[in-house]
Each structure stands twice: as structure tokens, then as C-alpha cells.
Symmetry: C2
Subunit: 503 residues, 2 copies
């Protein structure tokens, strides 16, 4: 008995518990274990790296730590904590950025069709034949037409080619015109002072470019060039969201949403012949949410028709537009419960700063409606119960970090809830929303910003690879083995090239 007591009192002396060194060791061990457990738990931790990957990882981590350490010492030099417009070109100089650019990034699962390509690209569309322009106040409207359009115009319709060449200076004219195709401005924080202002500018881009891009030949060229740009960005597959606007041609024909969807499918087929190494694309029909219930019912009918007409091309259905101003999803519950029998859902939800307001609670609707993925889910970290549901139901979160910065949800991406999603190893896919409108590269900027600015200093190549793999896993592609296999080929090639070119 006494021996037991003695042991309890002093027995640990040798293992250190009652000595100074022992106590310190214990605390250090506890600290180390906690940190290790955290690293073991984080997003990407289940990936095992090959020897070659380990070498690339070392290169990547050296570059990352160097950039972080400079920022830690002098925070004013840490670019990605600022507004995206202030550093978007600057970081292209980063070696790490260039490396990420080369990296196969899997798929894009959250992007809106006409917001993908850059203002430079859109500008060159204005060089197409038969394009008329009408300058109205501070804005303008486009229309392709054989002759002067008869649509009302506050000033007058002019052939854009004539206006451009009679402007005196084509360069200045084009520079002015280009501004209509981008949100990028100097001092964004002084101009876009609240979320509605920036959303207004954002939505005006779509309104302004509709008649330009919805000209059927342009539409098809635009999508072809989207696919080309994705391929060049080392993205192999896309599930593209579209409002499927009506298209038109020079003969006065106007085509409905089903034709728009069909034209996407035709372009895709053509592209896959030209570039057989590209994996493919599917469509998420995502019309505007600022409507009434009967319109939503009609949307669902359109989606069903598309699915019937073009079997296998429609991934599913969503609703888009500024959540805070649009109708909350719960107003369409009846229609969406019915639609669920025919459609998979990929709802935008919780793209908001508000807590407990209707837009925030769209997260609940998305989940109970059986959404396969959630667009943004920015507000998710405020809903622990929904985090559990998302894990349980394996619903992916489509995160768009730069979009959330530009559209004023978060000023410093280090505060983006993605940091906590990654720490908890939630099913995250990373995407770019409308990269063209803020002049981001199609996916590289979002990957870079996430890796350097959002994720932990400890997060490494495994995080990047997992982001790519998740974008395949949470896609609607049926044959995942083939998809992942094709990715692995590209990935191995990338790893080898990094080692070979001794970055």
C-alpha cells in the first residue's frame, strides 16, 4: 500500500513529471502533439506524396515561407491581404504563382459563363462585323444587326467600326471601351464603398455585354475560347453556370434557352475534336433569383426540357444574382421540392456577411433541398449545425476567395472562412466565379491566394493536390476513375517538369 502511495507521489520523478525538466518536457510534448494533430486533420492531410512530389513540395514550401516571412515582418508588403486589384498583376512575378499556373488544377465547378474571359477578350469582340453601339448617358448598349437597329436608343445607333475609326485615336477609344468590361479600377475601396455599389457595377457588366455576347456566332466563339483558356490554365473540365439567355442572329431569329444549351453542347463537341486531351464540360442552368415562384416553376420546366433534349449534358440547377437583394430560396420551396425529382441542385447560398437574415438562411434551404454542392457558403462558419450536416451529407462547398474579396464580403482574405473550412477538412472545391470581370487568371490567382493568404503556413503541396482532386470528385462526372486517371497523368508530368527544370 505504502509502496503504491510512494509510487504515486514520486514514481514519475524519473519520467520527469516532478522535475523541472520533466515538467517542461511534458508541456513541450503536449504542444507538439496538439500541433501535429491539427496538421494531421487539415485539408489535404490524407494525401501521400511520392518521392518526386516531396521534392516539389520542398521547392514550393521554400517559396511560400519566403513570401510569408517577408509579409510577417512587414505586413504592408504582404500583397494578398489587400484588395485584389492592388496586387493582381504584381503577384504574377512570384515564382510560386508561376509554378501554380503550370500545375494541373482539375476542374472548375463554379464559374458563370460570360464572366470568365478578360476585358481584353471582350474588347476584341467589339471588332466583329455588324456591331452597332448606342451610347446612353454613362453607359452603352450593343446590338449586332444587318442595318441600323430600330430598337430605341437615347442617342443614336452607330456602327461601332465607324465610331471607333472616326474617334481620332483608336487606342484611346478602345481603352475607354475596355473600362465597360471590367470592375478593376484604381482605389477600389474608395469607390466601391458598400456591397450594393459593387454588385451594381458587377451586374451592369452582364446587362451591358448581353447583346454583345448573345449574338449566336459570338456566343459560340466565346464558349470555344473559354474552353481553350481553361485548357491553357491546366484545367481539364468545367461545370459552367449559365442563365441561358436568348441568342439572336442577323436574320432576326431569336432562340430560346434550349437552343442556347444546345449551342454549348455543339461547341463542346467541336472543341473535343480539336483538343481531345480536354476532358469535357457540363452545364448548370442558373437563371436569376430575383423572380416570383411561377417563374421558378418555368425555369424548372426549361431545365427538364434541356435534360431531355441533350441527355447527359445538364449537371443541374441553381439560382443566381445578389443574394441579399434577391428573393430568399424559401419562397420557392414548393417548386424546388418538386423540381428535385428531376434535377440535381447546386445552389448559391450564404454569399453574405449577414447573420441570421434570410440570405444567410438560404444555407438551410440549400441543404434540406438536397443540394449536391453549395456555391460560396461564405456564412457557413456561423452555423456549426450546418457544418455537421455538410460533412454528413458530403456536400461540397464551392469557395471563390477572390470573388468574395472583390464583391466586398471580406477585405483581408486571411479572415476568409475558408481558413477554418480547410482546418476542419470540410469538402472544399476552389473556383473563381467570374475571373474575367476582375481580371484574374481563370484559376491560378484563386489557388495562389488560397495557398499563401488563406491556408495555414503548414499547408503544402498536399493541399493544392487535394483541391484539384476534390474538383474532380465533387463533379457530376460518372466515371471518376477515368477522370482521376487522366488527372494523374497530367499531374505526374507537372511534377517531373518542376524537378527537371529545377525551379
Amino acid at each position: 500500500m505504502w509502496l503504491v502511495i510512494l509510487y504515486l507521489l514520486f514514481g514519475d520523478a524519473q519520467s520527469g513529471l516532478s522535475t523541472v525538466t520533466g515538467r517542461i518536457e511534458n508541456v513541450i510534448n503536449e504542444r507538439t502533439t496538439l500541433i501535429e494533430n491539427e496538421i494531421k486533420m487539415m485539408f489535404g492531410s490524407d494525401i501521400n506524396l511520392s518521392d518526386s512530389e516531396e521534392k516539389v513540395n520542398e521547392i514550393i514550401m521554400n517559396l511560400k515561407h519566403e513570401e510569408l516571412d517577408i509579409g510577417f515582418e512587414e505586413p504592408q508588403l504582404f500583397n494578398v491581404s489587400k484588395h485584389f486589384f492592388e496586387y493582381k498583376d504584381e503577384i504574377k512575378k512570384s515564382k510560386l504563382f508561376q509554378l501554380i499556373k503550370q500545375m494541373p488544377k482539375g476542374a472548375i465547378l463554379h464559374a458563370h459563363d460570360t464572366g470568365i474571359l478578360s476585358p481584353d477578350y471582350v474588347l476584341q469582340l467589339t471588332y466583329w462585323e455588324n456591331l452597332y453601339v448606342c451610347f446612353e448617358g454613362d453607359d452603352l448598349r450593343f446590338l449586332f444587326s444587318k442595318s441600323i437597329p430600330t430598337d430605341t436608343c437615347d442617342s443614336q445607333w452607330q456602327l461601332l467600326r465607324d465610331t471607333r475609326f472616326s474617334s481620332g485615336d483608336v487606342e484611346i477609344f478602345d481603352a475607354k471601351l475596355r473600362k465597360y468590361f471590367t470592375l478593376v479600377i484604381d482605389k477600389p475601396n474608395e469607390v466601391y464603398t458598400d456591397i450594393n455599389l459593387v454588385w451594381n457595377a458587377f451586374q451592369n457588366y452582364f446587362i451591358r455585354t448581353t447583346s454583345l455576347i448573345c449574338y449566336k456566332p459570338v456566343w459560340e466563339q466565346y464558349f470555344y475560347d473559354v474552353l481553350k483558356a481553361l485548357r491553357e490554365e491546366n484545367v481539364m473540365y468545367i461545370e459552367i453556370r449559365s442563365t441561358l439567355p436568348e441568342l439572336y442572329d442577323l436574320d432576326g431569329n431569336v432562340f430560346d434557352s434550349v437552343v442556347t444549351a444546345q449551342s454549348y453542347k455543339n461547341v463542346l463537341d467541336r472543341f473535343l475534336v480539336d483538343y481531345p486531351d480536354f476532358y469535357g464540360a457540363k452545364l448548370i442552368y442558373a437563371p436569376l433569383r430575383m423572380v416570383d415562384a411561377s417563374t421558378v416553376k418555368n425555369y424548372i420546366e426549361i431545365a427538364k426540357e434541356i435534360d431531355y433534349t441533350i441527355p447527359g449534358f445538364l449537371a443541374g440547377f441553381d439560382l443566381v444574382g445578389q443574394e441579399d437583394l434577391g428573393a430568399p430560396t424559401k419562397e420557392f420551396l414548393e417548386e424546388l421540392v418538386e423540381g428535385r425529382k428531376y434535377l440535381q441542385y447546386f445552389f448559391h447560398a450564404g454569399e453574405t456577411n449577414w447573420n441570421g437574415m434570410s440570405t444567410d438562411e438560404n444555407l438551410f434551404d440549400a441543404i434540406v433541398l438536397g443540394t449536391k454542392r453549395i456555391g460560396h457558403a461564405f456564412a457557413l462558419s456561423k452555423h456549426p449545425i450546418l457544418i455537421d450536416e455538410i460533412k454528413k451529407r458530403d456536400i461540397a462547398i464551392e469557395v471563390n476567395v477572390i470573388s468574395n474579396n472583390v464583391l466586398k464580403l471580406v477585405d483581408d482574405v486571411r479572415n476568409h472562412p475558408l481558413a477554418s473550412f480547410l482546418a476542419q477538412n470540410l469538402p472544399v472545391v476552389l473556383s473563381s466565379d467570374d475571373p474575367g470581370i476582375w481580371e484574374a487568371d481563370i484559376l491560378s490567382h484563386d489557388f495562389y491566394v488560397t495557398f499563401v493568404g488563406v491556408a495555414s503556413r503548414h499547408a503544402d503541396l498536399r493541399l493544392l493536390k487535394k483541391l484539384a482532386l476534390n474538383s474532380l470528385y465533387y463533379s457530376t462526372v460518372k466515371n471518376k476513375d477515368k477522370l482521376v486517371h487522366e488527372f494523374e497523368i497530367r499531374w505526374t508530368r507537372f511534377i517531373d517538369s518542376v524537378i527537371k527544370n529545377s525551379w
Copy 2:
């Protein structure tokens, strides 16, 4: 057998599962249950309100919803999502703010002594006799002295009274002088462009006011007036952090930290005689962290001496200063493991935007060192494992929302991690850090901003009451029953007065 199959196939038809209405009902029920479960789980949900409290709750929630709904419609009108300086005076007009001002708020568990009172208060200290000033470049130094100080001065020491009255215009002179005692400026986001800049200005306040406030008679008056201000703010108790600087008097005496602590105790005793309804105060010795290990060892010796000299007055120990620039806690592990035998810890940790950097990992050190509470823990949401530890060990998080906004951790408080802490019902106490330096009311602004800007729209009076109760529960006061009983008396009086005055 067939009956069973038939039942399985159709038996739910009546309960609705296979009818349209039934399916919709099920989805609505699931939605409602999830939202209800979330509300049941959130911070404050364990509080039961009396009938009178329910009445007050209704008043409060009407006011809150009104403010939120205006902001939701027109976000530019939603003040608390902006920089604190832009709305701090404006919200004093809010009826809800005035109500919160009246509300008993329990204790302040995280505030730094010389940062508590307003610039107007500090300005009036410069009217004291025997105060000399030395203007140096853009800055100035103070010193109380019987005759012209012999300390070096880049210009010359002048009796402040003479300078003021020979300035031509006392009002202008005082307005200029006042600027040295506040961080508040116009367009803060354009001036304080990074965290180091604002921390520099912040720390200069402390350096600049040291010789002014460390004059022993001023020191004692300042603390007396802190206690008075707390009482007027309906705060009943404080655990005040102090670096315990050396005090001095006109006779050339310089007093060490133990005397400084003693002078606090003396003032407290005097105050409690004058205002016996005030509950009390304790001291957290919190010297600067930007030091070496041997200095920390010395700090601990000082703390032990204070605890020995003034039994029961010392709540514990902490280290202060900008975490990102100071030494990480792990450098002092050895000293702090030893100190733990004698002292309770209340470490600042994770007051940073960085993820996985040394400052972020101070959170691990604080926890393994057995801290009773954590100051700020802003980075905690990035560490799910530590969230579990905090729950398990019942470590309180001392959140200071407005401080985090002013000191540039978060631009829009709707993104403050406190929102997620409250949703998860973590042990939160709300405090104000250095309210005087940003001209906030001692605790009301932080309560208001948390209630309207951070917490869910659904969070009600129970959240406010729980914040107050937690500040008592997580204090080091031994007789919690007495403390809570005294709070309840004040609370009931408040509830009755709101009803009586029909807000």
C-alpha cells in the same frame, strides 16, 4: 407479408411522404428543426427569461430588428460594418444603444489600465500643477517636477501651464494636445493602412502618457476615476491588466512595481468605502512581451512578490504588446512552466490574422501552459482542435471586438470570429481592451456592436445576460454566489426600469 410491403410502399401516403404537400411539409419541417436546433445551441440559449425579461426582450428585439432591416436594405446605412471611428458617435443616438448603456454588464476581464479613460480625461490631467512638457519633433513628453526637469529634451522643458496660456488660444492648444491622447482620426482606413502603422500609433500613446500618468498622485486619481467610470457604465467588477510601471513623485522618489500594485490596492479600498455598491477589482500583472527569457523570469518574481505582499489582490499574469512583433510565448516556456506553480495565467494569444505563424501558435502555448482565459484568441476559429480543448478545459475567450476593428484585424465586424464562437456556444467574455484610446464607452459600444453587428439576428436578451454572467463566472472571484446575487439585484432593477419607463 404483402401487407407489410404495401405499407412500406404506401403507408406513408397519409402522413404525407408521397404526396406533393407531404414532401414540401417534410422539407419545411427539416428546415425548421435545423434552425431551431441552431438557436437552441447558441450562446445564451440556456438562460430562461422571466415574464418581465420577456417583455424587455420584445422591446430589445424590435429595436434590433429595425436597425438590422434598414441595414439589410441599404448596407451603406449599416453603421457597425464600417470602421469604428465612422459611427462611434452616431450610434449613441440609437435607442438600443442607450438601453444597453443602462444594462448591468457584469465585469470587465480584459482591459489595460492606462487605456481605459478618454482623451478628454487625459487632457484634463495636463491641467495639474507642476507638469512640464517637452515638444520633440511631432511628439511630446511630459514630466511632473518641482523645477525645470534636467532630463534631456530636444527642445526645452516648459511648464505646461505657461505654454498653454501663452499659446494665444487655449481651446486650440487643448484641441491639438488632445490629439496626442487618441487614435481617432478622419479617414482611418487611409491613414492606418497596415497593422504595424496603427500599432505604432497605439503604442506611442502609452509611451507618451507614461510620465503623465505615472506621477503617483495622478496614477491614483486615474485608477479611482476608472473605478468610478466603470460603476457609471454599470460594470461592477474589473480584473485590470497593468504593466505596473514605476511611479514617481515630486521629491525624486521612484517606486517599483510592487508599490504600483499596492497603490492600486489602496485606491480600491478607498473607492469601496466611498462606493460600497461597487464589487471590487483585481490585478493581472501584464508586462511587455518584447523581452528575453531572463526578464520574464524576473517578471514572475515580481508577480510572486506582489502576491505575497498584497494577498488576494493579484488575479494572475500575462504578457502584452503587439503579438506579431513580440517574442512568441514558446521562447519563455521554461520560465512560464515554473511560474505556473505560483501564478494563474491569462495570456494574450492569437491576436493575429496570420495562420500557422508563431503568433498564431501562441494559442497552443497559452493552452498547454494552463491559461484560465485567453486574451483575444482571434485566430482560434482556424484551430478546431483548440476549440475542443477550450471547451474541455473551460477556458474563457476574452473577446474585444472594437479593439480588433481599430487595430486592423477585421474591417467589417460581421466577419469577426466571435460570430462563430457564439454560434458554437464557446465560453466567451466580452471586453473592451483600451476603450479610451478609441473613444469608446467603457463597455457599451462593445456590447452594442456584438449584439447588432456580430451575433445572429436571432440572438436576444439571453445573449446579453449571458455575456454579463460569463464575465462573473470566468472571473477569479471566489464567492461566485455572492457576486451573481449582487448582479441579479442590479439586473432586476434594470428590467423593472425598462418596463416602467416604457422604452
